[in-house]
């Protein structure tokens, strides 16, 4: 993650050519790299889904189907055509939002994903927000008190955050805060008797409940959400704090900071108005990377907390040999992942005057 960020920062260095042209060029560059990544992603999922399994037809019809059925499905899947033709058909279907039909739920994979995705979005968003609002002050504090205990605390916390298996932390969290202390609600998004009361508008229960004015349900959802979000947020927190620390250290060693101090500016003003201003731009990339990786990384957390999100959908489909669902989920998460990174790149260019 770090080298992707630094590569991006290098790419966004100062430019000398006229502003609109270079912006256009940069935009075209980003778009072409997005397109290429998309083609690469689909090519790989295509290979995984159609080429690697010993016999994709058997996966659909089962091994006791009569020969006619087999041949029919073989034709229907287009397996008699050349590989590039198959890939092209696959791609055109994808672009139209057709990810095939799930064997497990017998519904279009796209519909399933739209139903499961908001839960993941809710979890990853809250976790990222926790990471931002706790991680940035921690990182700044560590940089300001470089070499003293707040600094050591952030470094050690970061190391622990990087080293602990998230699914294990989730289990221990459930054991302590749910089973023993009873501070939070258990697995799932809501208590059973609250299910299906609030109509699903956005799919994000917190928003839906607030829209309906059902505050009891809202707080129940918060109680379910807080533990998985905190655990997922720990990783966002560790990464954001560590990066903020090193960016701030870079800035605080610059001469303009010294100048500001010599001029008698208050320390708070030096840190927040001067040094931190310059860090903000770099942090955008870091936050984008974190958010994207949490969308993906929630797979394990969702399993532990029985959270009905896209990660759980993918793993459950996997055990039912539901390849369409697995690959559909992979593509959706992949597109989000690449999309968020592109978005943070664009935002970076908007915010940083040097990159325009």
């Amino acid at each position: 993650m770090a080298e992707a960020a630094s590569a991006r920062q290098q790419a966004a260095g100062p430019s000398v050519s006229s502003a609109p042209l270079s912006t256009l060029k940069a935009f075209a560059g980003l778009l072409s790299s997005l397109l290429l990544t998309f083609i690469g992603l689909t090519a790989i999922t295509f290979v995984i889904g159609r080429v690697m399994p010993a016999d994709p037809v058997l996966a659909v019809v089962g091994d006791r189907a009569p020969q006619e059925v087999y041949d029919q499905v073989y034709q229907a899947m287009g397996l008699d055509r050349p590989l590039y033709d198959q890939y092209w058909r696959y791609l055109t279907q994808l672009v139209q939002g057709d990810l095939g039909t799930s064997i497990m739920t017998a519904r279009p994979v796209m519909d399933d994903i739209l139903r499961f995705f908001p839960a993941t979005l809710e979890l990853a968003t809250i976790a990222t927000l926790l990471g931002i609002f706790l991680g940035i002050p921690m990182g700044v504090l560590a940089a300001v008190h470089h070499g003293r205990w707040p600094d050591h605390f952030v470094r050690i916390f970061g190391l622990l955050g990087y080293s602990v298996p998230v699914f294990w932390l989730g289990m221990v969290g459930l054991l302590i805060f749910y089973a023993n202390l009873g501070w939070v609600a258990g697995p799932g998004r809501l208590d059973v008797f609250y299910d299906d009361i609030v109509p699903s508008v956005t799919g994000v229960i917190l928003i839906d409940a607030a829209l309906e004015g059902e505050w009891e349900i809202f707080w129940n959802a918060v109680s379910h959400l807080i533990l998985p979000a905190a655990i997922l947020g720990t990783f966002a927190l560790a990464y954001i704090a560590r990066m903020t620390r090193s960016f701030m250290l870079d800035q605080l060693n610059q001469e303009y900071v010294l100048t500001a101090r010599v001029k008698g500016m208050s320390e708070r003003r030096v840190i927040w108005r001067h040094a931190f201003r310059n860090v903000q731009v770099q942090l955008i990339t870091i936050i984008g990377l974190t958010y994207a990786s949490l969308l993906e990384g929630s797979v394990l957390t969702e399993t532990v907390f029985s959270w009905p999100g896209i990660g759980q959908y993918i793993t459950r489909s996997l055990f039912n040999a539901d390849m369409n669902a697995v690959l559909g989920g992979t593509i959706v998460v992949g597109v989000c992942f690449v999309g968020i990174n592109l978005f943070s790149d664009l935002l970076y260019k908007l915010v940083d005057p040097r990159a325009r």
Binding site: E3, A4, A7, S33, L36, T37, G40, L41, I44, T45, I48, G49, M52, P53, H146, L159, L160, Y162, S163, V164, P165, V166, F167, W168, L169, M171, V172, L174, L175, A179, S246, L249, A292, S293, L295, E296, G297, V299, L300, T303, I314, T315, L318, F319, A321, M323, V326, L327, G329, T330, V333, G334, F337, V338, N341
Partner: protein, 309 residues
């Protein structure tokens, strides 16, 4: 890194040979370089902690038969779900197997996973990266585009999809992890190769008529290895966590293999009443990945003093 002269002159024997100002042979110079790096490394308490953790893991894996009473595989139902005691240090699991024994045997699997991923990832990254950096031109563009595509992927999800196609199992999990981790190594190796490409000794080799392949394997790659190794050490923790995650989801090593992630997964049902069954393997994963993180940080500080703050 300099060692006071007085120290050198006082001590005799091996230490003097190791610290001699002007080495007598190439071998001595090489050994000296490692020794000096070790001296710096030893002064770094964080790195030493990591080193000790990983060294104990290796010792544990090597002497597993001596350290355990059972193979940790056979069920002993009369002993099931016991808490920690003098006989069973970490208690027993749902099938009465000693958890301590399973942890010790599991260290072999952990080392096997990281070793195998390293053996696949480092050569692939080196070849792709040095080829792109050294040859340049269209080769560079194509190879780096492919690398970028792999870099942009969500890793765990891709590994999941791969395991779905290949079928669950330890080897397939390793393959999936390797396929999703090689790309940063290619980037690092390329950056190194770009700077090496224009150095004079490469010119000399070219003038002497060395082939491109010969130059790549004999001159460029050996110089890229150290930064790739540092990166690998830093990545080890991530590899262990991903492998454990796949094991936890039931996609990695299959029971009764004492893989730590799979042990957590099967122990999950006992969480509320026999909390130690899923907790102990988690601590083992945590300690080992912490060890690799500490070691990696320390190695980076030793080999690249600039990055140490």
């Amino acid at each position: 890194m300099s060692v006071p002269r007085a120290v050198v002159e006082k001590s005799k024997g091996l230490r003097a040979w190791l610290l001699q100002d002007v080495p007598d042979s190439i071998t001595q110079a090489r050994v000296q370089r490692f020794y000096l790096a070790w001296l710096t490394f030893r002064r770094n308490p964080i790195a030493m902690t990591g080193f000790l953790i990983i060294a104990s893991l290796v010792v544990m894996a090597a002497f597993a038969p001596l350290l355990t009473a059972t193979s940790g595989l056979e069920p002993q139902l009369e002993d099931r779900l016991q808490s920690a005691s003098a006989e069973h240090w970490f208690g027993t699991d749902g099938l009465g197997r000693d958890i301590y024994d399973r942890i010790v045997w599991g260290s072999r699997i952990t080392l096997y996973i990281v070793g195998l991923v390293g053996i696949i990832v480092v050569p692939v990254g080196l070849v792709v990266g040095t080829l792109a950096g050294y040859v340049g031109g269209a080769v560079d563009t194509v190879l780096m585009r492919i690398t970028d595509i792999f870099l942009a992927f969500p890793r765990l999800i891709l590994a999941l999809a791969l395991v779905a196609a290949l079928g669950p199992g330890l080897e397939n999990a390793v393959l999936a992890i390797a396929l999703t981790t090689w790309s940063p190594y290619a980037r690092i190796a390329r950056a190194e190769a770009l700077t090496i490409r224009n150095s004079e000794f490469i010119m000399a080799a070219k003038v002497q008529g060395a082939s491109t392949g010969g130059i790549l394997f004999r001159h460029v790659m050996p110089l890229c290895i150290s930064s790739v190794i540092v990166r690998l050490t830093l990545d080890m923790a991530g590899i262990i966590l991903t492998a454990a995650g796949l094991g936890f989801l039931g996609l990695g090593a299959q029971p009764p293999t004492p893989e730590w992630g799979a042990m957590i997964s099967t122990g999950r049902q006992y969480l509320l009443d026999q909390w130690w069954i899923p907790t102990v393997p988690g601590i083992a994963i945590f300690v080992v990945s912490l060890g690799f993180n500490l070691l990696g940080d320390g190695l980076r500080d030793v080999l690249d003093p600039k990055s140490a703050e």
